[in-house]
């Protein structure tokens, strides 16, 4: 299975500020009543968008200035809570190809990486600079460079960090591990044979 090598992501930005944004908020549970991921993008931040509208505000996702953005900005511990892969799927299906945040919850980070959605980290101060630049000019082109480990915008650059295993997987086009896992079948059988509880099927 040949996967794309994800080395740089270029697009416009959109910020959903805040810390501890959980996966229930990213995609409310009622949108999980489905047997496919189709249409998941429409549920992205659904209740937060509704709440903004009800309060006479415009959620960034509904703001025409940010339409077509490909890079999502947020705060610390992004994607905490439920393990639902529906969350990164919704973000990806809504057109985002990278997230820049201060930090990520563990399960979300793994789920996103496995579908080729790059989750990179920047410092709080750098995130604020980037968000300010986007607010000033929503058409600003941003480049997330996984090889050069930096984010470029507006003639400036800020460093990005990312867990080595995830960066390696994206850059070398092995972010979906299924092919590699299948190749290990013989080694899996050998390991399983050494574990007594796996030896015999139980009734």
């Amino acid at each position: 299975m040949a996967l794309a090598k994800i080395t740089t992501i270029t697009g416009r930005g959109l910020a959903v500020p805040g810390n501890d944004i959980d996966t229930d908020r990213i995609i409310p549970a009622r949108f999980l009543k489905a047997v496919t991921f189709d249409g998941m993008g429409e549920g992205l931040f659904f209740d937060a968008r509704k709440a903004a509208t009800a309060a006479g505000q415009v959620h960034p996702l509904d703001d025409p200035r940010f339409r077509g953005a490909g890079i999502l900005l947020s705060g610390a511990n992004f994607g905490c809570g439920s393990s639902r892969e529906h969350a990164p799927q919704a973000i990806q299906k809504a057109g985002f190809r990278a997230i820049v945040a201060e930090s990520y919850a563990e399960i979300f980070f793994g789920n996103a990486t496995t579908i080729g959605l790059a989750c990179v980290c920047a410092t709080r101060a750098d995130l604020a600079r980037l968000a300010a630049a986007i607010a000033a000019n929503p058409a600003l082109e941003i480049t997330v460079d996984l090889v050069g480990r930096e984010i470029r915008f507006d003639g400036r650059k800020i460093p990005l960090t990312m867990r080595d295993s995830a960066r390696d997987a994206l850059v070398h086009g092995r972010w979906d591990p299924i092919g590699e896992l299948l190749e290990g079948a013989a080694a899996v059988a050998a390991t399983a044979s050494r574990l007594p509880y796996l030896a015999a099927p139980q009734k």
């Binding site: 009622r30 999980l32 009543k33 209740d47 705060g75 919850a105 299924i178 290990g184």
Partner: protein, 474 residues
């Protein structure tokens, strides 16, 4: 040659590590795979698209929990989307030869109750499930991982997954818990202390005198919410309590195999003097009955405390977090948490819907009535718990007190079934998440607490100190 003492995490990891992958992660063998209707259908579709089979169908077990109506479990469900999901699960299990504890089995329940009840959850094993509360199974000394749907596919197709090694934090809770303080308070206190992302990158090993005395059900309550503290894995070393719980369960070994298994389980426990990446020690006596006031499980306070004031916050983002939470929760800074009127009381979920939870509350309920205007529902976590409660007359105690006594499922913990908050109702809940909109209404509000505190709120109509309401003395 003397080998240095080893911890359980390292031993289980080493026994299940198949090989190193190109990106440095480990291909980890998953001994037991649990699936349910919400996160598995897309994984089976991916398998079909790739032309793959289930590698070890006898090591995957299924049940249905999230979408099950609790007033009447019979199929077809009135919600066509929910009905399509349960049909898909049945078909996928039939097609691939997977054991399915369905509604007619008498063994259906929340997936994290079914594994232990059946004796499928065993010490020294690796367990994965497309559900973040899989950490529950760590109570038995297993490495139990919540995974996403693509990883459910990986486990189905290969019985393995790709994972980077976690660091290990030992959390000791020493001494004794005070009267009216429960396992739920222990984990809410730990999360409050270490933060909702304090466990990122860590597995938590819980121990100390309080855990030594805990029943398996209490250990499950704590391990269940490890993920709310950011730790993907939480476990307790197996001991006599663990073995006594497992003895005689349907999937537990028997005869000579039982003796061999117990010897293996004993040997897998962390050894005295083993290494940890971090150690935290908490005194059990310092843990109060705890209630959350905000929109994440770390925003908790003692029942005797007042709601935090953003003006007194020490960090800029703490101030912003408190303000956001208070605005959503419609609560006033500086006000006592005690006395806040509730609309709904929910006693259920994979955190607190086991026999011991209902038994404990039933001790104090006789002669009490749910307060006027409060909707109180009690939802056993499994059909087995439901039957046990019926045999002991516990369901009657709850009904007599004015609780709506339901059938098994996840219910109002995440409201994927018809049990939902309406508008901005405030719910005293024994569940695990107080996120915005979590209980089914986009403006619904949740206060997390122990089952007895939920009961105290139900009978008084307001957040209350169960120790005062019920005169709790151990």
């Amino acid at each position: 040659m003397r080998t240095s003492p080893r911890n359980l995490f390292g031993k289980v990891w080493a026994a299940h590590a198949v090989r190193e992958l190109a990106n440095g992660q480990t291909q980890l063998l998953i001994g037991t795979h649990l699936i349910h209707e919400v996160t598995s259908p897309q994984a089976f579709a991916m398998l079909r698209d790739l032309g793959l089979k289930v590698a070890m169908p006898h090591r995957t077990f299924a049940t249905v929990d999230h979408i099950v109506p609790t007033d009447r479990q019979t199929e077809p469900f009135s919600d066509p989307l929910a009905d399509a999901m349960i049909k898909a699960l049945r078909k996928n299990c039939t097609d691939h030869g997977i054991t399915y504890f369905d509604l007619a089995s008498g063994r259906q329940g929340i997936v994290h109750m079914v594994g232990p009840e059946q004796g499928i959850t065993q010490p020294g094993t690796t367990i994965a499930c497309g559900d973040s509360h899989t950490s529950t199974h760590g109570a038995f000394g297993a490495i139990a991982l919540g995974i996403g749907t693509s990883q459910v596919r990986d486990v189905l197709a290969t019985q393995t997954m790709a994972l980077g090694r976690l660091k290990l934090r030992r959390i000791n809770v020493e001494g004794r818990l005070g009267p009216g303080v429960y396992a739920k308070d222990v984990i809410l206190h730990i999360i409050r202390t270490l933060g909702v992302n304090g466990g990122t990158g860590f597995a938590y090993e819980y121990g100390g005198a309080v855990f030594d005395r805990f029943s398996m059900e209490e250990r499950m309550t704590v391990c269940n919410m490890s993920i709310e503290g950011g730790a993907r894995v939480g476990y307790v070393n197996p001991d006599e309590t663990t073995f006594a719980y497992l003895k005689g369960r349907p999937y537990s070994p028997v005869g000579a195999a039982w003796d061999e298994a117990v010897a293996r389980w004993r040997a897998v426990a962390s050894e005295p003097g083993c290494q940890y990446d971090d150690v935290v020690t908490i005194s059990g006596a310092d843990i109060p009955p705890t209630v959350t006031w905000g929109i994440n499980p770390g925003q908790g306070i003692a029942i005797t405390e007042t709601i935090p004031d953003p003006a007194k916050a020490t960090a800029v983002d703490e101030k912003a977090s408190i303000e956001e939470a208070l605005a959503y929760m419609k609560l006033r800074a500086g006000a006592p948490i005690k006395g806040i009127k509730i609309d709904v009381a929910f006693l259920g979920s994979c955190t607190n819907a086991r026999l011991s939870d209902f038994k404990e509350v039933a001790k104090y309920l006789p002669g009490r009535r749910v307060a006027q205007g409060v909707k109180a529902i009690a939802v056993p976590g499994s059909q087995i718990v439901s039957r046990q409660c019926a045999e002991l007359g516990i369901d009657r105690v709850f009904r007599d007190a004015g609780f709506d006594w339901r059938e098994a499922g996840c219910s109002m913990c995440l409201a994927m079934n018809p049990d939902k908050l309406v508008g901005d109702q405030l719910c005293a809940s024994s569940s695990n998440r107080n996120f915005k909109g979590r209980q089914g209404s986009p403006t619904g509000r949740t206060l997390l607490m122990s089952p007895l505190m939920v009961a105290a709120a139900a009978v008084t109509g307001a957040v209350a100190d169960a120790r005062e309401v019920f005169g709790v003395i151990h």
